[in-house]
């Protein structure tokens, strides 16, 4: 170690604490729900190259420590003491901001007239204008619909607020006061950081302060690599799908190839579908972006819980997403709901890691984070009032040695929920049930966690329910090592007159007085063959009402007698029946049908071919081919793929044909002829 290890340890904790103090300032002085309850904000301190060496561990958003401030630093070359830069532009900031409500600020910290570090913070603010209140709509197909775009701009110049900017900023928002409050909290946090940096330099000297920035990242990089060495060297490939891109019913494929060599992990997302004409794109700045390695980071931090959190963690990881893909879109692709896609990226990497090191992995979780939003008439103002009923998540996945967690999933955000009593106090709905969803867990030797069940009734007419980020209506969370998939997402309505409807994925659902909506979130995937699960554990699940007797028999081969105990003889008989051998990945019917039609190698070629087309033609060409091959893709949550397509082999042949036609059309010769 080049740096004195005692000083490293001392400065390591003090520096992390400085970033945390910034966060506490932000949280204490912030005023909106995003800050106070969901903690959708973060702070950090970056080195001169714009990489974080200090980042909070216990507070705020957990996955932004790999962000890169350098595009902002380059964009504003004349930074002076007391300046603060603001931006929310996903493309100019090269993926520092990943959607417009995220306001990012950077403040240079000076010592003796030289910049010695950069303070940073971000906050998810309430509204930056755009098509819909809160600025996020999955249906947006252009960045320009998503709200005010702020290129890197001095919001504070030499200590003085840029009032002209603030005016523009305020008039472009539906909630100017909340936004102003957020901005003030952010500035206060950056000031706290400045004070702590000054204290650290006063106490430990500028030389140590500068040297420790790299030493800390180097230390974290080495520890991260040590964890990654647990993944056996080799090449692994896997893919998963989004149900659709919201504006069409076409599934979107995320594909990754992982190459591992001695703790250095490369993730190549070649073969991933092109960017979509809705808000599901993830702007990653055409670089090694942290949103592409979320699952690797959680892997590292799962197996080494005390690594200092900083940008060094990413050094052994090399992700790459093709330009123009949904994971590296070109401007002005819309990006508002990028978290739904990022969740699926995480599941996809779970897949390659499972291939490489199944004993270290858990099956995918329910794979959704859905704030169930209610917009109801507000008799007091004559307008509408909007609130989150509950944020729904699925269960988490089963593991090699234990079951997944019921009804909880830290997912990308680890959101807290709302007490039913608070919801009822502030809205015109009544919660009839909020709990675990029976029989939803992916069966397994270690089962997945149960999903959630949320049932509520409108007490007034014209209540609108929105479920942004709803997913897994078509492609269920899969099981691993012989474990079974979790249940799909479902939404049903019982109207006041008793009629029932299965809704599927919600766009806007209107409820009138007396109508009841039931939302069922996915269970986590199971781990290991459920027929090897200890019958006593199955019995306990039945006793606790999480698994029905029927499911115990069908999914686990466990018969339970009338006294509630295991019927050993009947269980042995059930388990002796010949079954197909369980495979490493157990997919749902729609996934198997879709994979049967769209062969991986052909899909990869198809995507490559699409990539040679001008951006405008890619989406249209893809839509035509997929619809021709399938005869029209049904809406997720309505009809199954097999039922809709019928003869899978014929569809597979049609796809092969379509790709070869496209290949021919795009060949140099064809191009020449066309010219």
């Amino acid at each position: 170690m080049s740096f004195d290890p005692i000083t490293l340890e001392i400065l390591s904790s003090k520096i992390a604490a400085s970033a945390e103090e910034m966060s506490f300032t932000l949280q204490r002085t912030g005023r909106t729900l995003f800050v106070k309850e969901t903690a959708d904000f973060q702070t950090g301190i970056a080195d001169l190259s714009g990489r974080f060496f200090a980042y909070p561990r216990e507070i705020g958003v957990s996955n932004y420590m790999g962000l890169d401030l350098s595009p902002v630093i380059r964009a504003v070359p004349d930074m002076e003491p007391g300046d603060v830069i603001i931006t929310n532009h996903p493309y100019i900031s090269e993926g520092l901001a990943t959607h417009l409500p995220d306001l990012h600020m950077v403040r240079p910290y000076f010592h003796d007239d030289k910049i010695v570090a950069y303070g940073w913070c971000f906050i998810h603010c309430s509204d930056v204008g755009g098509k819909v209140p809160s600025s996020i709509s999955p249906s947006n197909d252009s960045l320009y619909q998503e709200g005010l775009l702020i290129p890197p701009t001095k919001i504070v110049k030499a200590g003085k607020i840029n009032e002209e900017f603030m005016w523009s900023f305020r008039v472009n928002s539906r909630s100017p006061d909340e936004n102003t409050g957020d901005v003030k909290a952010m500035l206060a946090a950056l000031t706290t950081g400045q004070h702590r940096v000054r204290d650290l330099i006063a106490q430990h000297g500028i030389d140590d302060f500068m040297a420790v920035q790299e030493a800390l990242q180097d230390y974290s990089a080495r520890r991260a690599r040590e964890v990654l060495r647990r993944i056996p060297d080799g090449r692994y490939e896997f893919w998963d799908y989004l149900d659709d891109d919201y504006n069409s019913a076409l599934p979107v494929r995320i594909r990754v190839r992982m190459d591992v060599e001695d703790g250095i992990v490369s993730l190549d997302y070649a073969g991933t579908d092109p960017q979509v004409s809705s808000a599901y794109n993830v702007p990653t700045g055409n670089k090694e972006h942290p949103w592409l390695t979320l699952r690797l980071i959680s892997f590292v931090l799962t197996y080494d819980k005390t690594i200092p959190i900083n940008a060094g963690l990413y050094r052994p990881m090399h992700p790459k997403a093709p330009k123009g893909s949904i994971l590296n879109p070109e401007a002005p692709a819309a990006v508002g709901v990028r978290h739904a896609t990022a969740t699926r990226v995480t599941d996809t990497v779970t897949g390659v890691l499972t291939l490489a090191a199944p004993e270290l992995m858990k099956a995918p979780s329910g794979g959704v984070t859905v704030p169930v939003v209610l917009s109801e008439p507000d008799p007091e103002t004559g307008g509408r009032k909007t609130l989150v009923v509950e944020p729904m998540v699925g269960g988490s996945g089963g593991m090699a040695d234990k079951d997944g967690v019921d009804g909880r999933d830290s997912g990308l955000a680890n959101l807290g929920n709302n007490p039913a009593e608070s919801v009822e106090a502030s809205s015109r709905v009544r919660l009839l049930r909020y709990g675990l969803r029976v029989d939803s867990a992916g069966a397994g030797r270690h089962r997945g966690g149960c999903g959630q069940e949320l049932v509520f009734q409108a007490l007034t007419d014209d209540c609108q329910v929105l479920g942004r980020g709803m997913e897994r209506f078509r492609f269920a969370p899969w099981g691993i090592q012989g474990g079974r998939p979790g249940a799909l997402f479902e939404v049903h309505v019982t109207r006041a007159d008793g009629r029932t409807e299965t809704i599927g994925k919600i766009d806007v659902l209107v409820l009138n007085e007396g109508d009841i909506v039931t939302m069922l979130s996915p269970g986590g995937g199971g781990y290991g063959d459920p027929f090897t699960r200890d019958p006593a554990l199955v019995t306990l699940d039945v006793q606790r009402g999480l698994v029905t007797r029927g499911a115990a028999e069908a999914q686990y081969g466990v018969a339970i007698a009338d006294d509630g105990k295991v019927d050993a003889a009947a269980t042995a008989a059930l388990r002796a029946v010949e079954r197909p051998a369980p495979s490493q990945f157990e997919f749902c019917d729609d996934r198997r049908a879709w994979d049967a039609i769209f062969d991986d190698a052909l899909m990869c070629e198809f995507v490559t071919l699409l990539g040679t087309l001008p951006q405008a033609r890619r989406i249209e060409t893809r839509r035509k081919v997929l619809e021709t091959v399938t005869g029209g893709v049904p809406r997720a949550g309505s009809v199954g793929i097999l039922d809709s397509v019928g003869d899978l082999d014929a569809a597979r042949a049609r796809f092969k044909q379509a790709v070869s036609e496209l290949r021919a059309a795009l060949s140099p010769k064809a191009q020449e002829t066309a010219a």
Partner: protein
């Protein structure tokens, strides 16, 4: 022996049971430590009390009040040794405890599990009993429903039942009827209704209060019965009180009904003591620093009250009742010193605990601890630990530390010991600073008051690192929590969720006055049954308020000396909002979310005695202490010999039976007339 009016504070800890006897006429304090008996916690009380009384030169009959603190309930929750509890909930909410507030305890760890529920799902029963959001009754169970439910509950063999109905905070009657109905049908089972115990909005938090209360109730009940018998056996006839988490104390009967209020009382009593000593020493802003075997805790006192919080945890569970705000800030004396595989020196979080303990204890410990570092650097004299009752092995400590030397590139055990203390100090500083940042405070505006066995040894290093310039060391830091118990007031908090939007101030005045009166009357009725000799009850109140539609509240104090006026509260809220956020919003409606009140009454007053004036003491000896990479030749004083008003300059070591105080170079010490040491930084 003469007759005397005495009060005894007792704190039963894991290793020792601490006793402090106060002669309330003279203000003289006597302390005593008796080894605890984990299998039978009241046994050490029976054993130690006669020895304490004898040491103080009084008789058991002189003890007017016994104020007792125990961690029994807390330990039962941590170790999951409480009663078998069932829960009755409104239909549709069986998974109240399973879903909780939906967050996982760790955002990064993919293998994390959620907290293990105290009531498994098969012991949760749904009932058609429902109150609407306006307090209207939507469903009410019949007698037949309750008969069936009682049968189901009886079949589980549970010892206690918590009843939690949705919106019962608005309309407690149905929940009360269900609770009473079940109590009649199940006379052997202990029943707790959620709103009966804490009628605050948020069903998960309220259900935890009911469940935790039910969970520890049978255990505490039998403990209190035993304690009472044992005190009678040793001839103590005084009134018995139990310390509470809010820094107050409760009669045995109240503690028996509401044991949840006592769970975090141990650390709270230490803070009560610190607040008292600080006030008597002319210091009104203090950070307490309690350093024990496995960890260190801090709290903040400003003015006459320790700071309290309504956001804390008991084991894995959030607790929303007001308690003294104590935060853990890092290493204790038993924390292990080690080197990671990259050659970085680490302290904790693993602890050697009481068994085997530090290497220098010679009880089989092989990995060096923070205490070994004190011995290795010369801060602690191995021959005078615990007043010389326990010989420490300094060579063993040095040898264990020296084993780490090659991997650190350092020469000796002493070098490593000093480095490890710097690391431990830095960890504490960072946690302390973070904890203060959450409160919006700067530690440099405070004095620090250490207690616990190791507190005074480490506190000056922490103070210097954190920029704190003043430090107060009380006379008996080793039994400080027991001393705090003797200073606790009889005290209880009340809450009422109001959800009232102020539209017409005059109407609001009427409503507020009625609500406050109800809380006041409840408090007055309660305190009149809490024993004899109490002072006039004092009532304080506050309102949690917000702008309409805002997501969180700010507390606004209510002047209880005059009729409450909504307009005053609104102005108070605007001001609080302005102070924190820099603006007020006159156009917005204002909502009163929650009313809170606290009633307290003093036990008869007493005060600490002044030290007799004596001649200034000279050092007893000198020894070498490793500090700042140098071997300093440091004078060693017997603290009890120091004279009031005497001034010393660091470096110095001050030894007493229950601790050693380390005074850094460039710090001075002055002995306050009540015996408290006042340290101050002398450098600029």
């Amino acid at each position: 022996m003469t007759m005397a009016a005495c009060r005894v504070g007792i704190d039963v800890g894991g290793t020792f049971t601490d006793f402090v006897l106060v002669n309330t006429e003279t203000g003289n304090l006597t302390f005593f430590k008796e080894p605890s008996v984990p299998s039978d916690p009241s046994a050490s009380v029976e054993r130690g009390l006669p020895k304490l009384v004898e040491k103080a030169g009084v008789t058991p009959a002189d003890v007017e009040y016994i104020i007792h603190g125990t961690t029994l309930g807390l330990n039962a929750i941590i170790q999951r040794r409480g009663a078998k509890v069932a829960m009755v909930v409104t239909r549709g909410f069986r998974d109240l405890l399973e879903i909780g507030r939906s967050r996982m305890p760790d955002s990064y760890d993919q293998r994390a599990s959620k907290e293990e529920s105290l009531v498994p799902r098969d012991l949760v029963f749904e009932l058609d009993a429902r109150v609407g959001a306006e307090g209207d009754i939507l469903a009410q169970p019949s007698e037949a429903d309750l008969d069936r439910l009682a049968e189901d509950l009886a079949a589980t063999g549970c010892a206690a039942v918590a009843v939690v109905l949705l919106n019962s905070y608005l309309h407690p009657e149905i929940e009360r009827q269900v609770t009473e109905g079940l109590r009649r049908r199940l006379p052997e089972v202990i029943l707790t209704g959620s709103s009966g115990i804490w009628p605050e909005i948020r069903e998960y938090e309220r259900s935890l209060i009911a469940v935790l209360n039910a969970y520890v109730n049978p255990l505490m009940d039998s403990y209190f019965t035993k304690l009472k018998t044992r005190l009678e056996t040793v001839g103590v006839r005084g009134q018995i009180y139990i310390t509470a988490s809010n820094g107050g104390t409760l009669s045995l009967a109240t503690a028996n009904d509401r044991p949840i209020e006592t769970l975090l009382s141990g650390p709270a009593s230490g803070v009560t003591a610190a607040q008292f000593i600080a006030a008597r020493s002319g210091q009104d802003r203090v950070i307490t620093f309690d350093m024990g075997g496995t960890s260190s805790d801090m709290a903040v006192c400003k003015g006459s009250e320790p700071e309290s919080t309504t956001r804390t945890h008991i084991a894995d569970f959030p607790l929303v009742m007001p308690v003294v705000n104590v935060s853990a800030i890092g290493a204790g004396g038993g924390s292990i010193v080690w080197v990671d595989k990259y050659g970085v020196l680490k302290v904790g979080p693993e602890s050697a605990g009481a068994d085997p303990g530090p290497v220098c204890y010679g009880r089989g410990g092989t990995r060096p601890t923070v205490t070994d570092c004190y011995v290795a650097t010369g801060l602690i004299d191995p021959s005078r630990f615990l007043g010389g009752r326990m010989q420490l092995d300094r060579d063993a400590a040095l040898a264990a530390l020296a084993e780490l030397a090659p991997r650190l590139g350092m020469a000796t055990g002493t070098d490593i010991a000093e480095a490890a203390l710097r690391v431990a100090t830095a960890l504490m500083t960072t946690e302390l600073r973070k904890s203060m940042a959450q409160r919006g405070e700067d530690p440099r505006d405070f004095a620090i008051m250490p207690f616990g066995g190791a507190g005074p040894t480490h506190a000056n290093m922490l103070a210097e690192d954190a920029g704190i310039r003043r430090m107060l060391v009380p006379t008996i830091p080793g039994t400080f929590c027991a001393m705090g118990a003797t200073r606790a007031n009889v005290k209880r908090d009340y809450v009422r969720s109001l959800r009232h939007t102020i539209t017409s101030p005059s109407e609001s005045d009427v409503l507020l006055e009625a609500a406050l009166n109800e809380l006041r009357e409840k408090g007055a009725e309660w305190i009149s049954g809490e024993g004899s000799g109490l002072g006039t009850p004092l009532i304080s109140a506050s309102a949690d308020m917000r702008y309409a539609g805002q997501a969180f509240d700010l507390p606004v104090p209510i002047d209880t000396s005059a009729p409450v006026r909504a307009s005053d509260l609104c102005e108070g809220f605007h001001r609080a909002h302005e102070a924190l956020y820099g603006f007020r919003d006159e156009d917005s409606g204002i909502e009163i979310v929650t009313l809170r009140s606290r009633i307290e009454a003093r036990l008869p007053e007493w005060d600490v005695a002044s030290l007799p004036s004596t001649a200034a003491a000279a050092p007893r000896t000198r020894r070498l202490v490793r500090f700042g990479s140098k071997d300093l030749d440091v004078p060693v004083y017997d603290r009890p010999m120091l004279a009031p008003g005497q001034v010393l300059h660091g470096p110095a070591v001050l030894e007493q039976e229950d601790t050693t105080t380390w005074v850094l170079p460039d710090w001075s010490v002055r002995v306050h007339e009540n015996g408290t040491l006042i340290l101050e930084a002398e450098n600029a």
